[in-house]
Amino acid sequence: MPSLKDIKTQINSVGSTKKITSAMKMVAASKLRRSQEKAEAARPYSSRLEEMLSSLASSAASGEGVIKLLTGTGNDQNYIVVPVSADRGLCGGFNSSINRETFKLVKSLEGNGKKVQLMPVGKKSRDFFNRVMKDQIIESFVDLNISSTGYESALNISNKLQELYFDGKFDKCILVFNKFKSAISQEVTQQQLIPLDVSNSEKEEEKENSSNAIYDYEPDEETILKDLLPKNVSIQIFKVLLESDAGEQGARMAAMDNATRNAGEMIDSLTLKYNRTRQAFITKELIEIISGAESI
């Protein structure tokens, strides 16, 4: 049976863990608000860009040069998968669900005879894939710190991807990331980045054509499209990074909230145990005294 002192130390240590987790929860909550604001602020730009793109998409007749970002290379043999995780742990299943999903995706693509390469973003996915499929990683991005560096870091990733794409290193690029649904729930999502998935923007196009008259283009549609497409790639990445950042803070908040609650419950049960032990101890002493007195 543990001594009273042992239980006391245990209660203290759980108590300090509780303090840490509840502090982390507060920090995550305030960071979450900031990340959410950032994600919100980026929305007008990306939605406008998408609108413009969808109204222009029809003019992409030839599949040369930059337009390839829209029309594709005509092959689908080489894939590049970009898992977006956090740099830090202690956020519940946030990172492991990304890694698991990516792993599954890679295996299923390989099962279909495709060649897959990886470009992990964030320390947690880099470390994971360094262990399991080291030779398939071509580049990794860590310590992005998106909420302070902003658009620049998204630009770096996008430039690297486009460089590889135009070198013919891959035909399709898929992002795997945590979509921010609400402060407490994230959804692992796959998004095809290159070539641009026009299936949903086509719908928008119909909508637009019915409500809007046709624009004049200056210089001309194709030139604008050529400027627009690379920017769209960067902005999509930027959006995903922001969402994943907000999701990370949300996940951490939820995880830390749980941990704090668990610690509270544990302290309660330990305190109960402490009191019982103390009582048993006193009773034992009393019995000893009484039986000692009787024997005299």
């Binding site: 950032k38 602020a41 980026a42 730009y45 990306s46 406008r48 658009y151 809007n212 210089p219």
Partner: protein, 132 residues
């Protein structure tokens, strides 16, 4: 007099959003002056100044943009710019230094940065369009 709604959007935030009298933007093929009731135009931008005027033609604000797009319809004008700085907050000496540094570098990327920096310097120096 009529006004036109003007949005200046960067990837990070909405920089400017108000009803204004006139906007001048640096279109790729030449500057575009936008008044209320402008026909529908979509254009890409070169690095340069975006000037915003009130209804009585007084300059409200001028921004430097490093490129982007503009979408115009009779009621609304939207500029999507990659980086936006207010011209008043630019410092001449630091840009001149940046240009010098970039001139010593080679490669396509620094060339682009150089032309953007040069356009920035020009945006500070020139004063046409200050009064219209």
């Amino acid at each position: 007099m009529a006004t036109i709604s003007f949005d200046l959007v960067s990837p990070e935030n909405l920089v400017f959003n108000d009803e204004v009298g006139t906007v001048i933007v640096p279109g790729k093929d030449g500057d575009l002056g936008i008044l209320p009731g402008h026909s529908k135009v979509m254009s890409s931008l070169r690095p340069g100044r975006v000037m915003v005027y009130s209804e009585d033609k007084n300059l409200i604000k001028s921004f430097f943009v490093s490129g982007g797009f503009v979408e115009i319809n009779p009621e609304k004008c939207i500029v999507l710019a990659e980086s936006v700085v207010e011209v008043n907050s630019l410092e001449k000496t630091s840009i001149e230094k940046e240009i010098q540094e970039l001139e010593n570098k080679e490669g396509k990327e620094s060339e682009e940065q150089l032309s953007a920096a040069k356009a920035k310097l020009e945006a500070i120096n020139v004063n046409y369009y200050d009064k219209i």
